[in-house]
């Protein structure tokens, strides 16, 4: 499954990042670019459980492709969400379940954000995404 131009761009930028400070700065920049959710979308139904921060995730289908939106009150997590959405949005409906998302974060040099002890919420978001996809 080929990467979109945007995802390819993210990969190159993060792979070139030297050290944690630069990665953190990049994450914040990506987070700032995330389209904000409107208040109507910040419902209890869209809230992802299992995060210490508040995270909302919505999923819909458009022309046979996935379109997710997400947001969080934590900035670095918003960056991680932006990197997730750039990889999954536009994926064909039947392709998403075959996508190795932990590998995507590994390639970005952010694999540690998925360690089970992390309560930052990224794991919970991936789990919720799988549920949404399975329910479709």
């Amino acid at each position: 499954m080929s990467l979109s131009i945007e995802a390819q761009g993210a990969l190159e930028t993060f792979q070139q990042a030297a050290g944690w400070e630069q990665r953190a700065r990049l994450l914040m920049q990506w987070g700032d670019r995330l389209t904000p959710l409107n208040e109507a979308e910040k419902t209890a139904d869209n809230l992802v459980h299992g995060c210490e921060s508040q995270v909302w995730l919505t999923a819909r289908e458009q022309d046979g492709r996935w379109l997710f939106t997400a947001s969080s009150d934590a900035r670095l997590l918003r960056g991680l969400l932006a990197l997730l959405l750039v990889r999954v949005n536009g994926t064909a409906i039947d392709e998403l379940e075959h996508l190795d998302l932990p590998d995507w974060f590994n390639q970005l040099g952010l694999g540690r954000q998925l360690s089970p002890s992390r309560s930052n919420g990224l794991n919970a978001v991936l789990q919720r995404m799988r549920q949404l996809v399975a329910g479709a």
């Binding site: 944690w20 953190a24 210490e52 997590l77 309560s119």
Partner: protein, 401 residues
């Protein structure tokens, strides 16, 4: 001025963590272990493990003796009147659940159980669920503005309907000694049972359960530099006699038939199945080690570090300390900064602190906070650990602002 810890070298994991560029400031969650404990575990496993209180053979006799010696050491540590007042459980949580189930039949619908607003989940949920099972009322003592249980409110709320009081000695979030003595006096005056959760308190200083005058005192070994999987329930003999047997199985039984059985009194009657033998022996070794140290020197070292931590945080613009911490730990938030972002960046820099709700969700809600960062100290920490933390905090805040 550099403040070394004279005991740092006794904890080999501290050096190992430092080699991995990790600064450990999460001792309120669990502690690193002294070499004396590691030696005791190695000795037990390499000289012959055996089950306790069962076998007539020599390894069994030695293991049982070491196991029972530990019971004596714990009793001595708490100044309990007798080793028979010490029940080994699988953790502080398990000890509190034992109480909530073991005392269940003593309560009737409408009776009241009193806890405080700062209880962590382990000293809240067993009582909450007991209240739901038995139709009891769970009364929550509010805190004053400094994070201490409000005694004026306690005077009103502890009433003739109060059958049990269960409170923490030292909050895992607010780091302040709670006014146990007046609370216990109030509860006893109403004929209520008293339970003290010493999970954090037992780690700092020596506490005399007879002087405290509580019916039950609970702590977990792993927070006191001991092995995990082990908790301690102290009970006054008369109070232990009130407990119904809870978990059933080997060792706690006196006579078993297919259709009925009789059970042993405390402590063995409440230690069903094979206990965590190595951990019990290990805790004994930890207590020997801790007992050999100068308690005043530890208290003064911890107080100096805590002052250093508190001053450093107060010096940082926007940092807000929760409550009025006196020792052991400081929880804080930074204005305009999400604690998850701060936690993320501290982790990136090898600072091991705790972030989030600290297993005390209702307390955090009542403080109007989604979470906080908690820095907690052990006797092995030194001022360099704090300097590394402050420098990482400054870096993180610079990035985030």
């Amino acid at each position: 001025m550099f403040q070394p810890s004279p005991w740092r070298a006794d904890f080999p994991a501290i050096a190992a963590l430092q080699r991995q560029h990790q600064t450990y400031l999460d001792s309120a969650a669990t502690t690193q272990k002294p070499q004396a404990l590691l030696d005791a575990l190695t000795h037990y496993y390499s000289h012959g493990a055996a089950n306790v209180h069962r076998a007539q053979h020599l390894p069994g006799a030695l293991a049982t003796q070491a196991f029972e010696n530990s019971r004596g050491k714990v009793a001595y540590w708490l100044n309990a009147a007798s080793p028979d007042q010490i029940v080994f459980t699988h953790g502080a949580t398990s000890a509190l659940n034992l109480l909530a189930y073991g005392l269940q039949a003593r309560f009737n619908a409408g009776d009241e159980i009193v806890i405080s607003a700062l209880e962590h989940h382990a000293n809240l949920l067993p009582w909450q669920q007991l209240a739901l099972r038995q139709g009891l009322k769970l009364v929550v003592l509010p805190l004053d503005q400094h994070g201490l249980i409000d005694l004026d409110a306690a005077h009103q709320l502890i009433s003739p309907r109060t059958r049990l009081l269960a409170v923490s000695q030292l909050s895992n979030v607010l780091g302040a000694w709670q006014p146990l003595q007046p609370l216990i006096t109030l509860a006893k005056a109403q004929g209520a049972l008293t339970v003290v959760d010493g999970a954090q308190g037992v780690v700092h200083g020596r506490h005399d359960v007879q002087q405290l005058g509580c019916d039950f005192y609970v702590f977990s070994s792993h927070k006191l530099y001991g092995p995990d999987g082990l908790g301690v329930l102290y009970g006054r003999s008369e109070a232990l006699a009130l407990l119904d047997h809870w978990q059933f199985g080997g060792e706690m039984v006196q006579v078993a038939d297919y259709q009925s059985a009789t059970f042993r009194p405390a402590p063995l009657g409440f230690e069903a199945g094979t206990p965590p033998i190595a951990s019990v022996i290990g805790l004994g070794a930890t207590l020997d080690y801790l007992g050999s140290l100068d308690q005043n020197a530890i208290a003064s070292h911890e107080a100096t570090l805590h002052g250093h931590l508190l001053r450093g945080l107060n010096d940082r613009e926007g940092a807000q300390v929760l409550g009025r911490p006196e020792l052991a730990l400081v929880s804080f938030t930074v204005e305009g900064v999400h604690n998850a972002d701060l936690a993320h960046l501290l982790t990136e820099q090898g600072i091991a602190v705790r972030a989030g709700h600290h297993c005390a969700m209702p307390l955090m809600k009542s403080l109007g906070l989604a979470g906080a960062i908690r820095v907690s100290l052990g006797l092995y920490n030194d001022s360099d650990d704090l300097e590394r933390f402050f420098s990482a905090l400054d870096q993180a805040l610079e990035l985030l602002r």
